[in-house]
């Protein structure tokens, strides 16, 4: 057996590595830009103001939910009930708004109740996963059934319309600028603040190694619960967007979103094992899913093939993201 010694690593490579380390969403950003260019190529109108507004209106909820999921994944956990929380908050706020008369004040009250609901759901998840130490995947699946039951209790069938004051605002414009852009800016500011919180940093530290974090003196259980609580709050925000977009209450509206939120987080370059990732990446991941879906439409894929092409594109993007991310950091 004779082997050549390994070649020395070049300087360029380590600069690239550093960039990837600091901005784990770089591969996702590149994919997003390529998708946007392709979208513009096949359908120039898709990059117009109304085109982008429409896309954001539709995918803002997934962006919020992806961010929600990111906070639990930071710590190496997972929340399969995120979509069910969206459903629950959706029917709760529609019910509260309707009950209070549907004017501006009632909308505000409903949103407050919605946030509280999301927070409570998150705390329940944190309790069963972090405090009772049940396995996150199955435990949050069980809570998702419970949350769905609650949603069905509040509103057994889909279709209760949301008050016009709510969805008109969401779909409308303020000073000629679509409302969703304000929402995006507020979202961005919120995230910038959250990135700087102690909780965010501590969640990542727990994800890097629970035992090490515990030995360093971090309150690991409380931190993981904090992650779930944050997840619940962001799921509530996602529910607000979905309510604005669909203008109605639907006790099952979020169910399908859970797995997409996990996919968006991974697409955004975060590690499922925890300890590594960014919320910006998850937002980009959600947008990638949106742009893939619209691109598949714009290139004129026959309608029955659209889902398959979307599925394949997302799978490939997931694999590419994991592989590129690992290569770049290795």
């Amino acid at each position: 057996m004779t082997m050549a010694s390994a070649p020395a690593r070049s300087q360029n490579r380590s600069a690239l590595k550093r960039a990837f380390e600091r901005y784990p969403f770089l591969p996702a950003l590149i994919i997003l830009v390529v998708l946007m260019v392709l979208n513009g190529w096949f359908q120039p109108r898709s990059l117009s103001l109304s085109g982008v507004t429409g896309l954001i209106k539709t995918y803002l909820a997934l962006m919020f939910l992806a961010v929600a999921q990111t906070y639990v994944i930071y710590a190496g956990d997972i929340d399969l009930s995120a979509g069910a929380i969206v459903s629950l908050v959706n029917v709760v706020i529609v019910a509260v708004m309707t009950a209070l008369g549907g004017d501006g004040l009632s909308v505000m009250a409903a949103l407050a109740v919605g946030i509280a609901t999301g927070l409570a759901c998150g705390l329940v998840n944190g309790l069963v996963v972090a405090a009772l130490r049940l396995q996150a995947i199955v435990a949050t699946f069980a809570t998702s059934i419970f949350f769905t039951g609650l949603a069905l209790y509040i509103q057994p069938v889909a279709g209760t319309p949301a008050p016009a004051a709510f969805w008109r605002t969401y779909g409308g414009r303020i000073l000629e600028i679509p409302f969703v852009f304000y929402a995006v800016v507020a979202f961005a500011i919120l995230l910038v603040v959250l990135v700087r919180t102690r909780l965010s940093l501590r969640l990542l530290a727990v994800g890097d190694g629970q035992q090490e974090a515990y030995q360093s003196g971090l309150p690991v259980t409380a931190i993981r619960m904090g992650g779930y609580a944050l997840c619940g709050v962001f799921a509530a925000l996602a529910a607000f967007c979905i309510t604005g977009d669909t203008a109605s209450g639907d006790p099952l509206v979020g169910g399908k979103m859970t797995l997409f939120s996990v996919a968006a987080v991974v697409l955004g370059g975060s590690a499922l094992a925890g300890g590594y990732g960014t919320v910006v990446g998850s937002m980009i991941g959600a947008l990638i899913i949106g742009f893939i879906n619209s691109l598949v439409f714009f290139v004129g894929t026959p309608s029955e093939w659209q889902n398959l092409v979307q599925g394949l594109a997302i799978l490939l993007a997931l694999m590419a993201g994991v592989l590129v991310g690992r290569r770049a950091r290795a």
Binding site: T143, V262, L272, L315
Partner: protein, 331 residues
């Protein structure tokens, strides 16, 4: 028994009983019996022979999917297969189209479905081992592909129907008054017991699941075993898809999705933790039955869907507490 070694001294009966009761299989069986009694109390006739037979058929469908899920989870390293639901649906459609209501089409349907299931399992396995994509991500992505494929197939080819033979096999008495699907389930149970207990492959599954590094150091071909587990998971899901077609008569949209997470719960309730390496299929069979009976009781009692779901969710959480919690961080 080694003659050089003294047998362990007899343990007190009470501890032995306590140990026995802690066996997940026993826990599941006790819970099953309790639930049947509860069901009978709530709605007389719940535990009648005919009714139990129906429950068993439904449990068999879930149990067959859970066999593959069980193998993947046993193999450890966060093994999980979220794509089983998609494979079940796809297999049901392929089987329906290939047999088109004729008994003569059954062999081809079985062959076609198993090949399809194996192929998707192979993709999953390769992604997970050679490309080192986390199983959750890989199989989640694959689920999306399968769902897309379902749309293509459903719209391109007229929806197929189960042949009379297949329908009878699933729901009519086949031998000694027991439907064929239950014989199939029993056979799968035996095959799994043999595979896990009496083959080198089975021992290697446990080895990689319980301590992958030690297994590697003891010469276990870790990657090959893991790929095989995903292939088997695809095959079991495909078999379940064929049976599901027989159960429902014709294939319809996303019929398999209802099996994705319940198959995982059945495995956990059967005593195989998600971390892998221990447990077995006998427990999973009981776990599947437990889950089906629980759902069935909730249907019997007179509350609406929302209450049912809430009770179901809470019951699942309480049951999980029976199956052991994670370890505390302080040594």
């Amino acid at each position: 028994m080694s003659d050089s070694a003294p047998a362990t001294t007899s343990t007190p009966v009470s501890t032995r009983v306590a140990g026995f009761v802690k066996q997940p299989l026993i826990v599941a069986l006790i819970l099953i019996a309790a639930l049947l009694l509860l069901g009978e109390a709530l709605s007389p006739g719940f535990a009648s022979g005919q009714q139990i037979m129906r429950l068993l058929i439904v449990a068999a469908l879930l149990g067959i999917v859970a066999a593959g899920q069980n193998l993947v989870i046993l193999g450890g390293r966060e093994g999980i297969d979220l794509s089983v639901g998609g494979v079940v649906s796809l297999s049901a459609i392929i089987a329906g189209n290939l047999m088109a209501g004729e008994n003569s089409g059954i062999p081809l349907a079985i062959l076609g479905c198993i090949a399809t299931g194996a192929l998707f399992g192979l993709f999953n396995g390769i992604g997970v081992t050679l490309l080192r994509i986390p199983p959750l991500v890989m199989t989640l992505g694959m689920l999306g592909v399968l769902q897309g494929l379902l749309v293509v197939i459903r719209q391109g080819i007229p929806s197929g129907r189960a042949s009379p033979g297949l329908a009878n096999f699933v729901s009519q008495p086949f031998l000694f008054g027991i439907p064929g699907i239950l014989w199939l389930w029993i056979a799968i149970g035996l095959v799994m017991a043999f595979l896990l207990g009496r083959t080198v492959f089975g021992h290697r599954i446990y080895a990689i699941g319980s301590n992958e590094q030690a297994a590697f150091m003891a010469g276990v071909p870790v990657k090959a075993v893991r790929i095989a587990l995903f292939v088997l998971s695809g095959i079991f899901a495909a078999i379940a898809g064929i049976c599901l077609l027989g159960y429902s008569g014709s294939s319809f949209a996303n019929v398999g999705e209802q099996y994705m997470l319940p198959s995982i719960i059945a495995v956990v309730f059967g005593g195989t933790p998600l971390s892998g390496g221990k447990g077995g299929y006998t427990g999973t069979m009981a776990g599947a039955l437990l889950l089906v009976i629980l759902q069935s009781i909730l249907v019997t009692i007179n509350i609406d869907e929302s209450g049912r779901q809430m009770v179901f969710g809470i019951t699942l959480l309480v049951l999980m507490l029976f199956y052991g919690r994670g370890r505390s961080m302080r040594a």
